[in-house]
């Protein structure tokens, strides 16, 4: 058999705990609020639903190549990784601690559809708190990395949180957007967005598209050790910049130019062609290395 296929440990498939275990230095992880010290969300119980001890998020401290790291991982299998009161507070708490203790980085392993509707108000406010806490952490000089490659991607409020991070590392399987295709289909019709056309969904929201457009810093193979290597490499070269008008001005210009250039398009294929990709239809089937090479060769 093909050995590289046998030994892969898919990030997409792994649970939150397995992702952390594979990402950090072996044995270095200490969980904060472990399951045995936690109780499931009483809000879910009120709605007659069993909760999870960790409320769908694992937080704690560990090391990445011997550097001290704070880490949080959402569990996409539990109610779509959605943010409820406890879930959100754990993440806010971790980020607040990061401001004080200044680890080398905070890694957010996002796998979430956004706000947990069963506790929608608490979830929405919590996401707002997470947004501010991410920016406070970065302002304290601690980089915050978003790692996206789980089955739920990063949608809704967590899509916004991801874009507030220092950088996003994403796999081809990862998705990053605001509204889910199903929501758009329900409201605007199947002609607007056919959520069952998965190739289309990925051409609009998927990791390759986001990477080609520069919304994500790195495209990573769907493999736990590839994410580990990518995070290590990124942090080695990264100095968290102080927040400044200059930086945001530059982003503003870039976003405005992008909107003018591509605002009318409705499919990744059109944008890739406009970006200068000679054979856009081939993009979805390119492997990770070829796609990275393709991006490097694009006219800027």
């Amino acid at each position: 058999m093909i050995p590289s296929l046998a030994s892969r440990h898919s990030w997409f498939e792994a649970t939150a705990r397995k992702r952390i275990a594979g990402l950090l230095d072996p044995g270095s992880f200490t969980e904060i609020l472990p399951p045995a010290a936690s109780t499931p969300s009483p809000h879910l119980a009120k709605l007659d639903l069993p909760g999870a001890f960790d409320d769908g998020i694992v937080i704690g401290c560990g090391q990445l190549e011997k550097q001290p790291i704070f880490i949080a991982a959402q569990e996409g299998q539990f109610i779509g990784g959605a943010v409820g009161e406890i879930h959100g507070a754990k993440l806010v708490g971790l980020l607040k601690r990061a401001v004080r203790e200044k680890p080398a980085a905070v890694l957010l392993l996002i796998d979430s559809g956004g706000v947990r509707l069963h506790e929608a108000n608490a979830g929405l406010i919590a996401i707002s708190e997470i947004m501010r806490a991410v920016l406070a952490t970065r302002a304290a000089g601690v980089p915050v990395l978003a790692l996206i490659g789980g089955s739920c991607g990063a949608f809704g409020g967590m899509g916004i949180v991801a874009k507030l991070c220092s950088a996003i590392l994403i796999s081809e399987e990862g998705r990053l957007a605001l509204s889910g295709p199903e929501v758009i289909e329900t409201v605007a019709g199947v002609e607007e967005f056919d959520s069952k056309d998965r190739a289309l969904v990925w051409r609009v929201t998927g990791g390759k598209h986001r990477y080609l457009m520069g919304d994500c810093a790195m495209l990573v193979e769907d493999d736990v050790s590839a994410f580990r290597a990518a995070a290590t490499a990124f942090l080695a070269d990264w100095q968290e910049p102080a927040p400044s008008v200059g930086l945001l001005r530059a982003t503003q210009r870039q976003l405005e130019n992008r909107l003018t250039a591509y605002g009318a398009y409705r499919d990744g294929l059109q944008i890739w062609a406009a970006l200068g990709v000679t054979n856009p239809e081939s993009v979805p089937l390119l492997d990770r290395d070829s796609l990275v090479a393709l991006k490097e060769g694009l006219p800027t």
Binding site: A36, A52, Q77
Partner: protein, 104 residues
């Protein structure tokens, strides 16, 4: 949701320092948290399950587990989203093995 409580006599498990967690609360799956219990010959179980009306099945599945494995002196907490008995049995075996550091 239904809450169920059982206890079964069982041969004492190897006492362990750390609790063990297996599985994820997701469709057709469950999480099992295995803690040290008080009575060395008892396996005490608390279940919260999304599927109502299967108390007899739970009792049979966990009873069979407690009879076949040394599970005494443990407290087992389960959050379930409709796992089948096959999955429950598998997770119980995994959790106990992890709790005892790989010994079954």
């Amino acid at each position: 949701m239904e809450k169920l409580n059982f206890q079964f006599e069982s041969v004492p498990a190897l006492p362990a320092a750390d609790p063990a967690l297996c599985g994820v609360v997701g469709s057709g799956n469950l999480e099992i948290l295995l803690n040290a219990g008080d009575a060395p010959n008892l396996c005490v179980v608390e279940i919260k399950t999304a599927a109502r009306g299967f108390a007899d099945t739970w009792q049979a599945v966990i009873g069979a587990f407690a009879a076949a494995h040394p599970a005494g002196g443990t407290r087992i907490a389960i959050n379930d989203m409709g796992a089948t008995p096959a999955v429950v049995s598998l997770r119980l075996a995994q959790a106990l093995a992890e709790y005892q550091g790989g010994v079954q």
